[in-house]
């Protein structure tokens, strides 16, 4: 299953290595850095869960279990806040 960010009412931009996000539904600004920024960039085009896990494995010195757990936690947060496309 391919995952991607919703397009409506969501604006984001990279500044330095961070991602600055504006959720237009409630005018909330968020900033992502580190692994969150890595995953967000991939989700902006679209990616599978496995591709996200691989990206963390390729970027950070972590084991598969940690990368998978971090990815799932991140996806759960995005889903909860309505950032993922249905």
């Amino acid at each position: 299953m391919r995952l991607r960010l919703r397009t409506e009412d969501l604006e984001w931009r990279e500044i330095d290595n961070d991602i600055v996000i504006l959720d237009g539904r409630d005018a909330t600004y968020l900033t992502l850095n580190g692994s969150g920024a890595v995953l967000w960039r991939l989700l902006a085009t679209d990616a599978t869960r496995q591709e996200l896990v691989d990206a963390l494995l390729g970027t950070y010195e972590v084991d598969h279990l940690t990368a998978a757990a971090d990815t799932d936690a991140f996806l759960a947060t995005l889903s909860e806040q309505g950032f993922l496309a249905p």
Partner: protein
């Protein structure tokens, strides 16, 4: 940062000639400087990094706001300045702005429509009675104000251009928001010049960069000149574009650049003396030759400067004038600070 006619190469040269962040901010080119310095491997000061972040937060809100504004009002909406000019920069986040400026066919109706859609009024109501735009609006929690113009801003000694003609001189906005218009480049450039002079003639580098980059062709330049003269702003335009070309395109230097706009070349604030000179020179350089108000206006500026203001006594007015003369070589902001300190004692 490159483009065809060398404007940006010249801008790079100018912003690299100083490391004074306050001066860069004063001229509205701090974001350009941050980008150029980074590209050249120079350290970008923390304060400019903060400026970049703030500009990014503001820029993020623009597409959302424009779409909401467009969805809220059915009439004509013409976006000018800010993001419309920024679209002609190498990066849209390189041009700072605080608000969105619109020319609209029916400002009162547009204002009501936006309020009905959830926008809220901001700013003191009294400030905007009789102003060139309605009381500003904002979307709650988003850091950008929206100004719906009753007429084009210009120096108060010039008449506004005909709104109906301005509403005709449009094309789709460079922001890409469907249904949103922008002035054609020639009209936009003249509006930008007039707006700049409304604040202070030949105020800052940003204004000259805007005017230069929105013009896309020689035809635009011809039309801009024609429109400016038709709208009674011919000399404002000729002075502005002459200074912009002299500064940014290295064409022959014009007298205004040498006499009362040297702060542009040096990327610094005007001194107290230059500020006073500008108050006099603006109308003289900007009004049509046959307009007798030039003489009256310019003379009045000097006499008004020395005359008591409000409840001020003549002795205090004379003291203020003496201090202005003593501070003549200082930057205007330094003089203002000294005045505040003196008044606070």
């Amino acid at each position: 940062m490159t483009n065809g006619n060398g404007v940006w190469e010249r801008v790079e040269e100018i912003v690299c000639a100083t490391r004074n962040v306050e001066a860069l901010r004063h001229h509205g080119v701090e974001l350009v400087a941050a980008r150029v310095w980074r590209e050249r491997g120079y350290a970008v000061p923390d304060e400019l990094l903060v400026d970049e972040r703030v500009a990014t937060l503001r820029a993020l809100a623009i597409p959302l706001l424009l779409k909401r504004i467009r969805d809220s009002y059915d009439g004509t909406l013409i976006l000018m300045k800010g993001p419309e000019a920024a679209a002609r920069y190498p990066g849209r986040a390189m041009r700072p702005f605080l608000d969105l400026d619109f020319l609209v066919d029916d400002p009162a109706a547009a204002h009501r429509a936006l309020l009905a859609s959830g926008f809220v009024e901001v700013g003191e109501p009294a400030r905007y009675e009789g102003a060139h735009h309605m009381r500003p609006l904002a979307w709650p929690d988003l850091p950008v104000a929206i100004e719906l113009h009753r007429e084009a801003n210009r120096p108060n000694w010039l008449a506004p251009p005909d709104l109906d003609e301005l509403l005709e001189l449009t094309r789709p906005s460079a922001t890409g928001v469907p249904g949103l218009s922008a002035p054609v480049p020639a009209a936009h450039a003249v509006l930008l010049a007039a707006h700049s002079w409304a604040h202070e003639p030949l105020r800052r580098l940003l204004d000259l960069i805007d005017v230069t980059v929105v013009l896309e062709s020689a035809d635009d330049r011809r039309l801009a000149r024609e429109l400016a003269f038709r709208w009674g702003m011919g000399r404002v335009w000729r002075t502005t574009i002459g200074v912009a070309d002299g500064l940014l395109l290295r064409s022959a230097s014009v007298p205004a650049l040498r006499i009362w706009a040297r702060h542009l070349t040096a990327v610094r604030e005007r001194t107290v003396f230059e500020t006073h000179l500008t108050r006099w020179a603006g109308p003289v350089w900007g009004l049509p030759y046959n307009c007798i108000r030039a003489v009256g206006g310019a003379t009045r500026i000097f006499t008004d400067a020395a005359r008591p203001r409000g409840d001020e006594r003549w002795t205090d007015a004379m003291r203020r004038t003496r201090l202005a003369i003593a501070d003549a070589p200082l930057p205007q902001s330094e003089h203002d600070l000294i005045k505040e300190t003196r008044n606070g004692r």
